[in-house]
């Protein structure tokens, strides 16, 4: 508490932000109270146990896979002399640009019985029917886990790589002087120190997995999200759907708390980032294995699906779509950028507040503002309507009372609702990234300016923000890309004549006609690449 005990305005602002972001979740919880009724027990006796076990299994598999994909690749790129590392460094981020449901669709097309791979196999071996040979079925729980992991591992890769690169090399050197080999120093010192970053990334991946709808639906894997949809759209029982969503929220709460417990008491700070040249040399065999591993991730997570899209676009090009797509693309970029900017600004406020007033209760705003991440987009959209609807009604009634012209549904019926939904859903990403960045700034730095009589805001502006620049930027880009790909919330909240690239493509995918939207899908991926290239440039 260098800057005094309290900062009332900051405290109020933090809580206001957190509560605003939490409001839809609260509305959801309140409407669910007392609704674990007859329908709920019917579901419990029939399908719910399977949905729950599917959700748990899927989350477990995806987490395991992203660790297996993300940590070794981050290690190879940041700590070894892997050939082509300068390319891989950013190429490994490319899958982030791919919406999972798109990859799901493209791979099903490729690996289905009628797809080119199985056709080739049948032609080569003279097989005639599906009973004559075994081939993996992609439309399974395991298939969904692989597809999700292929597009989500970059989170783990990116945060782990950054953590490893920003470690204090003196610690490693100290280890070496105490007799550790270079490899042992990595395993015993560097990786354990990177654990907080890895855990943050895995938590993000878990929440993303729990909230996924389009991929699991395409693969016919019934999860809790499916149950929420069924209950709401099938049975028309919003309250019971909210009750299920609350169960889902418990999962998330558990995940978040477990993650925080796992790194409680860890504090690692350094202002001496590790850009040293003494990277591990690899033997020939290790080189080959490392290269195959990393490039395979790039190929499976990005190059192959992207290539398939291009092939489709060439076969089915509908060039007259281009004008319309450019327009939709521009709209998509705009709302994603607004959402990213808002999310990052709010996260900064919350994270810095906790930094300078580090009472444990002051950590709460930061924590609760991230809850929205695991709320499926559809549920969130409904909750937002329930939250903003009454405010809109009040505004209109007030306007009518004052004899003004009615403003209409300015909150719930415009793109404002969509942007707000993006912020609620993706604040957790911004929080995680920015908090990790702040965590790396030594606390000693906070005190220096104060001892020189510099005020709090000036300290933040001149000391913390410049150090945080790259974290802020990474956070902005991550939210931006996620917002661009987000589907269900937009489907439900969009105003008249409004379309994003995801809704455009989803429409065609759900009708087995992606070919006709291949150019649009390429647009999404290309727009998604812009931040990745940017991300890469700013890292050097």
């Amino acid at each position: 508490m260098i800057f005094g005990q309290r900062n009332t305005s900051w405290l109020t602002l933090s809580w206001l932000i957190a509560l605003a972001l939490l409001a839809p979740v609260l509305v959801m919880l309140f409407t669910s109270i007392g609704n674990f009724g007859e329908l709920f027990s019917h579901l419990w006796q029939t399908v719910l146990p399977t949905y729950i076990s599917n959700t748990l299994l899927l989350t477990f598999y995806v987490s395991l896979l992203v660790l297996l994909f993300g940590v070794p690749s981050a290690f190879l790129i940041s700590q070894t002399q892997l050939v082509s590392a300068m390319w891989l460094r950013w190429a490994l981020l490319l899958p982030l640009a791919m919406p999972a449901y798109l990859v799901a669709y493209l791979y099903t097309d490729l690996f289905d019985y009628a797809g080119p791979v199985q056709r080739l196999l049948r032609a080569s071996f003279g097989w005639q029917s599906p009973t004559e040979y075994w081939f993996f079925d992609l439309r399974t729980l395991e298939g969904a886990a692989v597809v999700l992991a292929l597009v989500l591992y970059p989170y783990v890769y990116m945060l782990t790589r950054t953590a490893l690169e920003q470690q204090d090399t003196s610690l490693l050197r100290a280890g070496r002087t105490l007799g550790l080999s270079a490899r042992q120093a990595m395993l015993k010192i560097a990786l354990p120190l990177a654990r907080p970053a890895i855990m943050v990334a895995v938590t993000l991946v878990m929440m993303e997995t729990i909230a996924d709808f389009a991929t699991v639906q395409y693969f016919a894997v019934n999860t809790l999200t499916t149950a929420i949809y069924d209950t709401w759209l099938g049975y028309g029982d919003m309250a019971a759907a909210n009750a299920l969503a609350s169960v889902l929220l418990l999962f998330v709460l558990f995940t978040v708390v477990a993650e925080q417990k796992s790194r409680a008491g860890q504090r690692h700070q350094s202002n001496r980032p590790n850009f040293s040249d003494d990277k591990l040399a690899l033997s020939f065999g290790q080189q080959v294995m490392g290269l195959v591993f990393c490039w395979l991730l790039v190929i499976l997570g990005f190059a192959l699906p992207f290539g398939l899209l291009i092939a489709m676009a060439i076969d089915y090009a509908q060039l007259e779509q281009l004008g319309q797509l450019a327009e939709i693309g521009w709209e998509t970029l705009k709302i994603s950028a607004y959402a990213a900017t808002a999310a990052v600004a709010l996260s900064l406020l919350l994270a810095l507040f906790h930094r300078f007033y580090p009472k444990s209760v002051n950590h709460l705003p930061l924590q609760i503002s991230g809850f929205g991440y695991a709320v499926p987009g559809t549920v969130l959209a409904m909750a937002l309507m329930a939250t903003f609807g009454p405010i809109d009604h009040w505004l209109n009634d007030t306007a009518a009372w004052l004899d003004w012209s009615k403003p209409g549904l300015i909150l719930s019926g415009t793109t404002f609702a969509i942007i707000f939904a993006f912020v609620v859903r993706f604040a957790a990403i911004a929080n995680g990234t920015i908090s990790a960045g702040i965590g790396k700034i030594p606390h000693s730095i906070d005190k220096a300016p104060a001892s020189l009589g510099v005020g709090l805001l000036a300290t933040i502006r001149t000391v913390h923000l410049p150090i945080l620049k790259s974290s802020v930027f990474v956070a902005w880009l991550l939210v931006f890309v996620e917002a661009m790909k987000e589907l269900p919330a937009v489907l439900l909240l969009r105003p008249f004549n409004f379309e994003t690239l995801s809704t455009f493509i989803y429409q065609l995918i759900s009708d087995e006609r992606l070919e006709q939207g291949a150019i649009g899908a390429i647009f999404i991926v290309l727009f998604g690449l812009i931040p990745i290239i940017w991300l890469n440039k700013n890292k050097h």
Partner: protein, 336 residues
């Protein structure tokens, strides 16, 4: 600082899409139907009437959205693809009666709500597709549970509205207990877990994964007109089930006017246009559905599939068994 905040707020306000004003020469549509189908219709309507059509493709949660928006809802016209959705809107009091001699005359009475709150525009048959390799055959929905089709049937999710409506019609015919038995039988006969959409099942028949699938009629026409999908459609025959008894299960796509429609007159004009010869012809040709208006010709392709007997079960009855159908699907663990 304060100036900056005001400036930023004003800037932010311009970012949000314009709020739609209630001008007289436009009409706002919430649509379950897909853009490629309704856009040509709306363009034609605008050409004829000078009324601009704004659309939200609100496939999911339309009723919820309307209910929340209440009297401030901008929605005028609601387009759906399934009778249950229309009844849901009706029951939640989200529609208003439209009294129009034009509509009364154009649309047969069994495809209109008694209180004039909704109108059917097209009918859509739930067909059974069978592999050409099985040859010509007569088939009924009941047959799908027959042991001879063990491991031979493909379908989309049982919870899809089209299948739920079919299960509802089975409940109306046979009662819940028999329908559950039937569902369990069909599940045993499935070649794979329910997945994909109606087209995907025909593709699976083409691939040799199964022999029989459920699918709406117009998909057959659409696949035949698609370069890539024509081979799928060429692998199957389209069958109209239960021709020797109650007839094939038929659903409707339909339309209603929102209770608080700000452009009521324009909405009525749009409904009358959608029931007109011209629009019904477009439905028939573009979407290969069966127009409800008497005297409008089916598309040549649809006509080539031949005439059929339709189940004359009242649509309201189908909608009334909807929740029971969903519960039976859960009990049979049909999708798992």
């Amino acid at each position: 600082m304060i100036k900056k905040i005001i400036g930023l707020t004003a800037f932010a306000a311009t970012l949000v899409a314009p709020v739609f004003s209630a001008s007289a020469d436009e009409v706002n549509v919430y649509s379950y139907r897909q853009p490629f189908l309704v856009e040509p219709l709306f363009n034609e309507f605008t050409k004829q009437s000078g009324i601009k059509v704004n659309v939200v493709f609100a496939k999911k949660g339309m009723a919820e959205r309307l209910a929340r928006e209440g009297e401030h809802s901008p929605a005028d016209v609601l387009l759906t693809t399934d009778i249950s959705r229309l009844i849901e809107l009706q029951e939640k009091g989200l529609l208003q009666a439209v009294n129009s001699d034009v509509l009364e005359a154009a649309i047969p009475s069994q495809y209109q709500a008694d209180d004039n709150s909704w109108f059917g525009l097209t009918t859509r048959v739930r067909n059974i597709y069978t592999a050409k390799r099985l040859g010509d055959m007569a088939i009924s929905y009941e047959d799908l549970a027959d042991e001879k089709y063990r491991g031979k049937i493909c379908t989309r999710s049982g919870k899809h509205p089209y299948n739920v409506a079919l299960v509802s019609s089975m409940i109306a015919e046979h009662g819940e207990a028999k329908t559950l038995e039937w569902l369990e039988g069909v599940k045993k006969n499935l070649a794979r877990k329910p997945q994909g959409n109606d087209r995907g099942q025909v593709q699976a028949i083409h691939q040799g994964l199964c022999d029989v699938s459920l699918g709406n009629s117009y998909y057959f026409g659409k696949m035949l007109n698609d370069d890539k999908q024509k081979v799928w459609a060429d692998a199957v025959n389209i069958n109209f089930p239960n021709q020797v008894n109650r007839g094939a299960h038929v659903n409707i796509s339909g339309v209603g006017v929102a209770k608080y429609a700000p452009h009521k007159e324009a909405a009525k004009a749009l409904l009358e246009f959608l029931a007109s010869d011209k629009a019904q012809q477009m439905y028939a040709e573009t979407n290969m559905e069966y127009p409800v208006r008497a005297g409008v010709k089916k598309s040549a392709l649809v006509a080539s599939w031949g005439d059929f007997k339709a189940d004359d079960l009242p649509l309201e009855t189908i909608a009334s068994h909807r929740k029971a159908a969903l519960k039976l699907l859960d009990q049979a663990k049909f999708d798992l």
